[in-house]
């Protein structure tokens, strides 16, 4: 959690300094990421929205890899094609994030259906997989959320619908987002089990996800979790949340309800952590992030030759021609590339 917080702070500042084009922080939601990801198995597929980098970090995505994506350099697994924070990693079963909201929710149903059929063919229960799909309180209003809930419950797909209810969809508070009792009240309407949990309590989140996973696999059914939390940071670097909310509200969330403050107090209560150790961890992580960032920034762009790749499995004739056109143009006018 400390590593994530440091990465967020430093990369957010990097955007303000003009070193990356865009960034989104996770302040206040770290317990959701670490609590949930730690309760999953490596074979479970994660479908994320955009504010779940901590889950990817838990699985082993390195600071260098995060920074490579944000700096769109030649080592970015996504080949520099997407805006920062649109991470994806096949090796860690984390699907590449896309900007359209909610589209990942129906996709998670399809993946879970695959796992359901796989489990029928493979009796080894420890190899069974689920899909988990994260989405916010805003994305829970999209058409894909509703279709996905209905499909998952009707087709009985083993998966977790994980809603991060952090109070805001950009500037839209939840009062403008829905009239019902949060998101979890919808679950019984669709015919699925659900639970609301304190999203700032890392243990509660972990316990809920562990139990939900077990239930999903045993009953081959979807389970919904609504984790209540608070988005302490701005929506993104393109947002200034002081324009639509009180700083008092943010202060209370970060001083009192912050998941890391609570976890810190818990550890100290049992004598498992002290201020010096925390400070040295924070320092280590800060330095690690800075090193990773500097290394990523120094690296070159991906090769221009990749620009027309991966549109299709095999490059079709019209793209070969268009690539030739671009090469000719760059050569004719001696444009550096």
């Amino acid at each position: 959690m400390i590593r994530l917080r440091k990465m967020d702070t430093i990369l957010h500042n990097a955007q303000r300094q003009g070193r990356i084009s865009f960034y989104m922080t996770h302040h206040g939601e770290e317990a959701i990421h670490m609590g949930s990801a730690s309760a999953l198995k490596p074979q479970d597929h994660i479908f994320a929205q955009y504010r779940e980098a901590g889950s990817l970090m838990w699985r082993g995505f390195s600071l260098e890899q995060f920074c490579n994506q944000c700096f769109s350099n030649d080592l970015d697994l996504g080949k520099g094609r997407q805006m920062p924070v649109h991470y994806g990693c096949r090796a860690l079963n984390y699907h590449t994030v896309s900007s359209p909201l909610g589209t990942q929710i129906t996709q998670a149903v399809g993946a879970a259906y695959k796992f359901k059929l796989d489990a029928m063919a493979n009796p080894k229960k420890e190899e069974s997989a689920i899909s988990i799909v994260y989405f916010g309180d805003g994305a829970a209003s999209t058409v894909d959320f509703h279709s996905a809930c209905n499909f998952a419950a009707t087709l009985k797909t083993p998966m977790i619908f994980f809603c991060r209810n952090n109070g805001y969809a950009i500037s839209t508070p939840v009062e403008d987002q829905y009239a019902g009792d949060g998101i979890i009240s919808r679950a019984p309407g669709y015919g699925m089990a659900g639970i609301r949990v304190d999203g700032n309590d890392i243990f509660a989140v972990h316990a809920a996800v562990a139990k939900a996973r077990k239930l999903a696999l045993e009953t081959s059914a979807p389970v919904m979790i609504e984790a209540m939390t608070y988005r302490q940071g701005h929506h993104s670097t393109s947002d200034d949340s002081s324009r639509y909310r009180d700083t008092d509200e943010v202060k209370e969330a970060s001083d009192v309800a912050d998941p890391m403050v609570r976890f810190d107090r818990f550890l100290k209560h049992f004598g498992w952590m002290d201020d010096n150790t925390v400070a040295s961890i924070e320092d280590e992580e800060r330095i690690a992030v800075l090193r990773a960032m500097e290394a990523a920034e120094a690296r070159p762009d991906p090769k221009l030759a990749t620009m027309f790749d991966d549109v299709y499995h095999e490059k079709p004739p019209h793209l070969i021609r268009q690539e030739e056109d671009l090469k000719r143009h760059l050569k004719k006018y001696k444009i550096p590339h």
């Binding site: 094609r81 896309s98 359209p100 129906t106 149903v109 399809g110 695959k114 359901k116 894909d144 087709l155």
Partner: protein, 412 residues
Amino acid sequence: MMPRSRLISILRKNGLHANQLLTGSTKAAPAWQPNAAVKNDVRPFSAVAQEQRPHSDTPSTVDYSHLYSTAYHPHSPEPNYPDLGPTSKLNLFTAINSAMQTAMQTDPTAIMFGEDVSFGGVFRCSQNLREEFGEERVFNTPLSENGIAGMAVGYASAGGTSIGEIQFGDYIFPAIDQIVNEMAKFRFRSGNQWNCGGVTLRAPCGAVGHGALYHSQSPEAYLAHTPGLVVVMPRGPRCAKGLLLSAIRSKDPVVFLEPKILYRSAVEEVPDADYEIPLGKAEIIRPGNDVTIVGWGAQLRTLQAACDLAAKEGISCELIDLRTILPWDSDCIKTSVKKTGKLIVSHEAPITCGFGAEVVATLQQECFFHLEAPIQRVCGYDTPFGLVFEKHYLPDEKKNLDAIITVMEFSL
């Protein structure tokens, strides 16, 4: 220049009584003699043209008319297919069914789903599949096109082959976000870590006689504007089976549009074998010398009829089926237009920004100095697809014959 009396008599013979003459070229050209056209022998339009262009290899067209019902235009010969062993007389929905059955027999991850597919589908395309493959692999989904498309993407991204059915192409629009923003971009945006090549979305398209606004649309133009997507439309049962098998097995996501008028009315000898027809390649279904005509789907039957009418007048048309709308085989069309110098593109969908516009734009750029006449588009009008005037809305064989005559008149 074509003698005007000759022009008027051709039109009259085909039931088109023109009050006004078509625009004519002012260039003098040698007069030509109408030939006594023999069924299989088509001659170049003009004596001068005959010297400039080689004779076509006159195809011996086999008469397939006994294979087709006469409910719609019956004539669609299938030239140049290699022998694929024993065949069965199948209509379009049975050929589609055969392709899906073959795909599911050879790929244990293949599943098929959509609205009403369990009992066999509203067009019978999925009949007997649930009985053969079981309820986990062939099942109904709730009524949601975006759900069907999203689920197809997710299933494929986890390594499976998903065949999703959208009940009518007119209802594909709720799924456009998943198709355009997700399906088409899945591989590219992930740096090729992830892909959803296992997706095939099938949907019926096209005029059916009584479908009106919402059961007659051909949405290929909306889909074609989507890099990363593959869009396919078969013209009949025989190529449908091969194209659908290629589509299902393709490593790219495919939207497969099926002309619904042909589900029952088109009957052809379809090989029992497992065969694939390459995607991204057009097919010359009727070689010719005087004018190139391009179409796709059921429109090719209309165009065959127009070509037959033109052949009676000694005009030799080269008819090309695009088969794959995206990526489309522009090289095939270019080669043909360099030979004929004249091009007509015809589709049911409305003319403005229809896919014909793409074909025309590319051909005028690439073949400008080979053209002897402005390229013609014979398409649906820019209105929604109304019920009562469907007959007049459609780009029928008479409108296409009119376009053929127009371009011939421009030529030397």
